[in-house]
C-alpha cells in the first residue's frame, strides 16, 4: 500500500492507494460460476493513538482503492498507521511519516 501524508498549514492531507482485488461477488468466471466477493470492508487510520479516519467500504469501491481525507492536529514528522481488513478477515497495516 502507498501512503502519502503531507502537512499544508495546520491540515494534514492523506492519500492512500491500497492494492486489493475488490472482487464484487457478482462476476462470473469462464464456466459461469459466480466468483465469490472479496473486498475491503474497513480502513482505519491512527495518529498518536487516536483514530483520525475510519472508512466502511463496499464492493462498489474500485479495484486497488484510492482514498483521501484530511485531519488537523498533526505536524510534519508524525507517524500515521493505516490498516485495513477485508471480508475474508485478511488485514494489512502500514506506517507513514507526515511530510
Amino acid at each position: 500500500m502507498k501512503i502519502k501524508a503531507s502537512a499544508k498549514g495546520d491540515v494534514i492531507k492523506v492519500k492512500m492507494l491500497i492494492g486489493h482485488i475488490m472482487e464484487t461477488g457478482r462476476r462470473k468466471d469462464a464456466d459461469g460460476k459466480l466468483i465469490p466477493g472479496h473486498f475491503i470492508t474497513e480502513v482505519t487510520v491512527v495518529h498518536k493513538g487516536v483514530t483520525v479516519f475510519h472508512a466502511q467500504l463496499g464492493p462498489a469501491v474500485s479495484k486497488d482503492p484510492y482514498l483521501a481525507f484530511a485531519f488537523k492536529g498533526g505536524v510534519a514528522g508524525d507517524k500515521i498507521t493505516v490498516s485495513w481488513i477485508d471480508n475474508k478477515g485478511e488485514t494489512e497495516t502500514s506506517e507513514s511519516v507526515i511530510r
Partner: protein
C-alpha cells in the same frame, strides 16, 4: 446448577472482566462494518439501514465533485467536502448499483470534511452524497453518465 446471589455476582464479575479484556484489544474500527446497509438493494433501504430515523434535506453546503460523463464506470473519481460543522459521517450511494451504498466515512472533530474515493458504477445513475451533521442528513446528488459499465469483466 443452583446459583446463590453471591456466586451470581462473582460470575458476573468474571464475565465483565472478560469483556473488558476483549475491549482492550486494539480494535480496528470505530463502528463495525454495517452489513445491512451495504447489502440493501435499493437506495431508500440502504439509507434507512445506514441512518435509521434521520431526516434528509438538500443542501448547497455540501460539495460533490464527480464527472458528468464517466468513460469507464469501473473507476469514477468522487470527492465530497463541506463546511458544515460537527460532521459525523459522509456516505456515498450509487442509486442504480445492485447495492447502492458504496462507501461510508466516519469522521471526528479532528477531521476536515473532505474525502475522495474512486467508485464503480454499473450504469448511468444518480450519485448521492449524504453528510451526517448535528443529527441531520444533508444531501447533494448528481447524475453521472457511464459509457462503459464498471461491474462486468
Amino acid at each position: 446448577m443452583k446459583l446463590s446471589r453471591r456466586s451470581f455476582f462473582k460470575y458476573m464479575g468474571a464475565g465483565a472482566g472478560g469483556l473488558l479484556a476483549l475491549a482492550s484489544v486494539p480494535r480496528l474500527a470505530l463502528a463495525a462494518w454495517n452489513e445491512a446497509a451495504f447489502t440493501a438493494d435499493a437506495l431508500a433501504s440502504a439509507i434507512a439501514a445506514r441512518y435509521p430515523g434521520l431526516a434528509v434535506e438538500d443542501s448547497s453546503a455540501v460539495k460533490l465533485k464527480a464527472p458528468a460523463i464517466a468513460e469507464n464506470g469501473a473507476v469514477v473519481p468522487v470527492s465530497v467536502s463541506t463546511n458544515l460543522p460537527n460532521v459525523k459521517s459522509i456516505s456515498l450511494f450509487v442509486e442504480k448499483n445492485p447495492s447502492p451504498l458504496a462507501a461510508s466515512f466516519d469522521l471526528t472533530a479532528q477531521n476536515v470534511a473532505d474525502i475522495s474515493v474512486r467508485l464503480r458504477m454499473g450504469e448511468t445513475s444518480n450519485l448521492v452524497a449524504l453528510v451526517e451533521a448535528d443529527g441531520k442528513l444533508f444531501r447533494v446528488q448528481q447524475e453521472v453518465k457511464v459509457t462503459i459499465g464498471g461491474c462486468g469483466g
